[in-house]
């Protein structure tokens, strides 16, 4: 379904706008949700924090991200011809986007 508002020159493909906004919102909110779950932290005042788990290992998430950095991103950055490989990866994204018939609404 495509809803388009059109008055003279003014054309607003509402579906296209809302789709990209929602996709971005869902991805960003999901990321924050995962980070919140992993890191915890004093979200609210100490009064309301009563009953929260205090034995949580707050360093776990940092360790995981450090592992991602050291085990995955580090070797990638150390790789010879990194720039060429990055361009190839981007080109694959480009090809997928182009040949899936996704250009324009």
């Amino acid at each position: 379904m495509i809803s388009i508002l059109e008055t003279g020159y003014f054309i607003w493909n509402f579906t296209a706008w809302i789709k990209i906004f929602l996709l971005s919102a869902v991805i960003f909110c999901l990321l924050i949700y995962v980070i919140k779950k992993k890191t915890g932290g004093s979200l609210i005042s100490s009064k309301k924090m009563r009953g929260c788990r205090e034995d949580r290992d707050e360093g776990t998430f940092e360790q995981r991200t450090a592992m991602l950095r050291d085990k995955i991103m580090g070797p990638w950055f150390d790789f010879p011809f990194l720039h060429v490989l990055s361009m190839v990866v981007l080109f694959i994204f480009f090809a997928v986007a182009l040949f899936s018939g996704n250009g324009g609404e």
Binding site: Y9, F10, I11, W12, N13, A16, W17, K19, I20, F21, L22, L23, S24, A25, F28, C29, L31, I32, I35, K36, T39, G40, G41, S42, L43, I44, S45, K47, E58, F61, E62, T65, L90, F93, F94, V96, A97, L98, F99, S100, G101, N102, G103, G104, E105
Partner: protein
């Protein structure tokens, strides 16, 4: 089903490609901080070279909110504000080789989404519920008005100019602006007006003081608000500044020159690549150097005006003058056309 998943994969790929272009904003911010830090260090001021690193580090730090905060709003609204910038990015031609939507970059729609994003960011700061947060939200509102009014005046007056000069198609479309007729030497009033608009808009971009980049919050500001939501707001501020630079650069970019250059290429993809590279290099250059020059000129001008709220009056006068100049050129051209 298979077709749908392929389309979804394609849509997601386009989205990722757009984020890659948006990463140029971080690169520009890093260069700008490095250069301005070097200059200020030479003057004896100690400046941190690593604000970007701090932003990314605090993403994984435990989230911390003030006592009175509306927790869910404070955590998730910065994400929605950031998401509000993505449709704006998508509607700028050349943001991605594969356009996610084909709207012709209508400026009124772009400004509507920019306003939505700004409103969400302001509410997210307000939801912290402290007096310091209220002061920050008030500052953000003032900065929003100071930025959006000249931008609207610029787009409406240039749109009027194109409408009066009888251009075919939507006069508010970024695609129409690529004709660059309003920047021609044969229309001096319009040219001057547009340059004044460019100066006014660029000198209102940063959230923080000149020389310290574009991050929304300083290190000492809202210390009880920490973690991923704070980083998201800082990134939102950096991307917002970059998108404004990209939008305004689109108005005065010499598209005509590149159209001529493209004639030599037999494959249109090569021509597109040249346009893409040239446009984003210009945006990067303008973000790093052009915006800084506008800040310096603004400081100089404000020093000369010794009345209360001198800076504000300067912007009002400049915006009104620029609008009148561009509108006058439009009326002049339409009268010439009618006489002819």
């Amino acid at each position: 089903m298979n077709n749908l998943s392929i389309r979804l994969l394609g849509y997601f790929s386009s989205w990722v490609l757009m984020l890659v272009t948006l990463a140029v904003a971080l690169f520009a911010e890093a260069i700008h901080t490095f250069l301005s830090g070097k200059t200020l260090n030479r003057r004896g001021m100690i400046v941190s070279f690593i604000p970007l690193r701090d932003i990314f580090r605090s993403i994984t730090a435990p989230i911390n909110l003030p006592e009175n905060a509306a927790v869910r709003l404070s955590i998730y609204l910065p994400c929605l504000a950031l998401a509000g910038l993505i449709p704006v990015a998508a509607s700028i031609p050349f943001f991605s080789f594969v356009p996610v939507m084909d709207n012709g970059g209508d400026l009124m729609q772009i400004l509507q989404f920019a306003l939505l994003s700004e409103t969400l960011a302001i509410i997210s700061v307000l939801s912290l519920g402290t007096s310091a947060a209220e002061a920050t939200a008030k500052r953000m509102t003032d900065e929003l008005i100071a930025l959006i009014v000249p931008m609207m005046a610029a787009f409406v007056s240039i749109g009027f100019y194109y409408s009066a000069s009888g251009v075919q198609g939507d006069p508010f479309s970024l695609n129409t602006f690529t004709n660059a007729q309003h920047m021609s030497a044969s229309v001096p009033f319009s040219l001057t007006g547009t340059l004044i608009f460019v100066f006014v808009i660029f000198s209102r971009i940063p959230h923080s003081n000149a020389g310290f980049g574009c991050s929304l919050l300083e290190n000492c500001e809202l210390p009880d608000f920490n973690g991923a939501p704070r980083s998201t707001l800082q990134l939102w501020s950096i991307f917002r500044a970059f998108l404004v630079v990209a939008l305004v650069t689109h108005i005065f970019f010499p598209w005509g020159f590149f159209k001529g250059l493209n004639a030599g290429f037999s494959i249109s993809w090569w021509a597109q690549s040249v346009n893409f590279a040239a446009f984003w290099s210009t945006v990067l250059f303008i973000r790093v150097f052009g915006v800084t020059v506008c800040w310096k000129v603004k400081e100089l001008l404000e020093r000369f005006i010794r009345i209360k709220n001198g800076g504000m009056w300067l912007y009002i006068i400049l915006t009104v003058t620029a609008t009148l100049l561009v509108v006058f050129e439009g009326i002049r051209i339409s009268m010439e056309t009618a006489a002819f």
